[in-house]
Amino acid sequence: MSYTTFSRKHNNQMQEPMFFGQTVNVSRYDQQKYPIFEKLIEKQLSFFWRPEEVDVSKDRLDFQALPEHEKHIFLSNLKYQTLLDSVQGRSPNVALLPIVSIPELETWIETWAFSETIHSRSYTHIIRNVTQSPELIFDDIVSNDKISERADAVTTYYDDLINSVSLYNLYGEGKHEINGNTVVVNLFELKKKLYLAMMSVNILEAIRFYVSFACSFAFAEREVMEGNAKIIKLIARDEALHLSGTQHILNIMQEGKDDPEMAIVAAQCQDEAIAMFVEAAEQEKEWAEYLFKDGSMIGLNKHILCQYVEYITNARMTAIGLPAQFENNSNPIPWINSWLVSDNVQVAPQEAEISSYLVGQIDSQVDASDFGDFDL
C-alpha cells in the first residue's frame, strides 16, 4: 500500500474511525461523525489574533529594570515556550495528517497547528522587543542542555509515531528488509504509538504550557512585562481549546465505539500513560528548580510552582479518566484564574474575537407549533 492524498475509492466517511481508516478524500462537512471538532474549529477561528495587535513596547523598559535572576526566569520561560510551540506548530500536521480518516478531525488538526504558528510568531515579536540580539536567545534553545532535555521529552513519542507511520504508508503491515535491517510493521503497535503520542501532546498542552503560563502571569501580577502577559493570555485561551481537542480524541479512543481496538490499546497503555504524567510532573519540577536557581520572584518560587504542577497534573489526569497521582488538590496560585478567563480578553463586541458575536444570534428553527396562535 502507499499513501495517497486523494483516494479515488468511494467510502462512507461516517463509518471511518478517527485514525487509520481510509485517508480523507473529499473535505466535506455536510455530514459529521464528530460535530465537536467542527465546533472547535469555529471557536478557534473566532479566537483569531495577531501578535502585532499587542503593544509590548513598555516591556523593554520593564525588562531592563529586572534583576538578573528575574531576567533568567523570564528568558528561560520564553525559550521553553518557543520550543513547545515550535514542536506544536508542525508536529500535529506531520504526525496525524497522514493517518487521519475523517474530514472534520483533519481540518481541526490543521486549524490547531496553524494557531500554534501564530504563537511562535508572537515569541519572536516579544523577543525582538526585549533584546537587540534575538539570535542569542533562539540559538540557546538548541544548545542549552536544560531546554534540550525538555525537547527530548516532548518529541520522543511524536518522532516514534512519525517514523513508524512513514514505514506503514510505504510498505504496509508485515516484516520488511530495509537497508539490511528487519522491520516489523504492525497496525496494533502503530495504534499504541498513536495513543501514547496523543497522551504526550495532552501532557504538553495541559501541563507543560500551564507551568510556563504561571511564570508569565506572575510577572504581570506585579505590573511588569504586561505586554508579554497579554500575548500569553491569548495563547492560553487557544491552548485551553487545543487541550479540549486532545481530551476529546483520547476519550473517544478509550470508549472504543470509534475503533474497538483503540479501547484495548487504551487499557493496555493505562499504566504507561500514568507513568508519563508522573514523569512529566517530575520534569516540570526540575525545570522549576532551574528557573529559580538564582533566586525567587515576588509571588512565585520553586515551591509554589511545584505545588501548581501537582495540582494541574491531577486535574488533567482525571479529565481523561486516569487516577490522580498527587495529594495536593488545591490551586496554590488562584490568581492565575483571572488570567485564564476567556471573558477578560479585552475586545469590543463588534470585533471578531467574541465568538458569541459570530455565531448566529437568531434561532432559525421553525416548526408547525410556532404557528399555533397564528390567524389570518
Binding site: 471557536k43 485551553a240 479540549s244 481530551q247 476519550n251 486535574a315 484564574n337 485564564l340 478567563v341
Partner: protein, 89 residues
C-alpha cells in the same frame, strides 16, 4: 413560563444547600456568591476546569459545552440547575 421547583445546589461533601436565584447566570456564579471555592478557567465551557460530578437532579446548558463531559458530569460555568441538584466538586 411554567411553575418550576425552586432551583438549588446541594454540595454532597458538606450537605450545604444553596439557593439558585433567578439572576444567577450559571451554577459556578451561584456558588461563588456564597464564597465556595470552585476551580474555573475559561468560564465559557471549553476548558473543562469547572467539571463537577452530578449526583442527583439534572441541569440544562446555556450553551452546549465544547469540553469533554462524561455522563454524570457537568460543567458549572455554563449550566443552570433544573430544580434541586446535588453535586460533588
Amino acid at each position: 413560563m411554567s411553575e418550576k421547583m425552586p432551583a438549588s445546589i446541594t454540595l454532597a461533601a458538606t450537605g450545604q444547600c444553596i439557593e439558585f436565584k433567578a439572576g444567577d447566570q450559571c451554577a459556578l456564579q451561584c456558588l461563588e456568591t456564597k464564597k465556595i471555592p470552585v476551580s474555573y478557567q475559561c468560564r465559557e465551557g471549553y476548558c473543562g476546569a469547572c467539571r463537577a460530578t452530578l449526583i442527583a437532579g439534572n441541569v440544562h446548558y446555556n450553551e452546549e459545552p465544547l469540553a469533554f463531559v462524561r455522563e454524570g458530569e457537568i460543567l458549572l460555568c455554563c449550566c443552570k440547575p433544573n430544580g434541586a441538584i446535588t453535586i460533588n466538586i
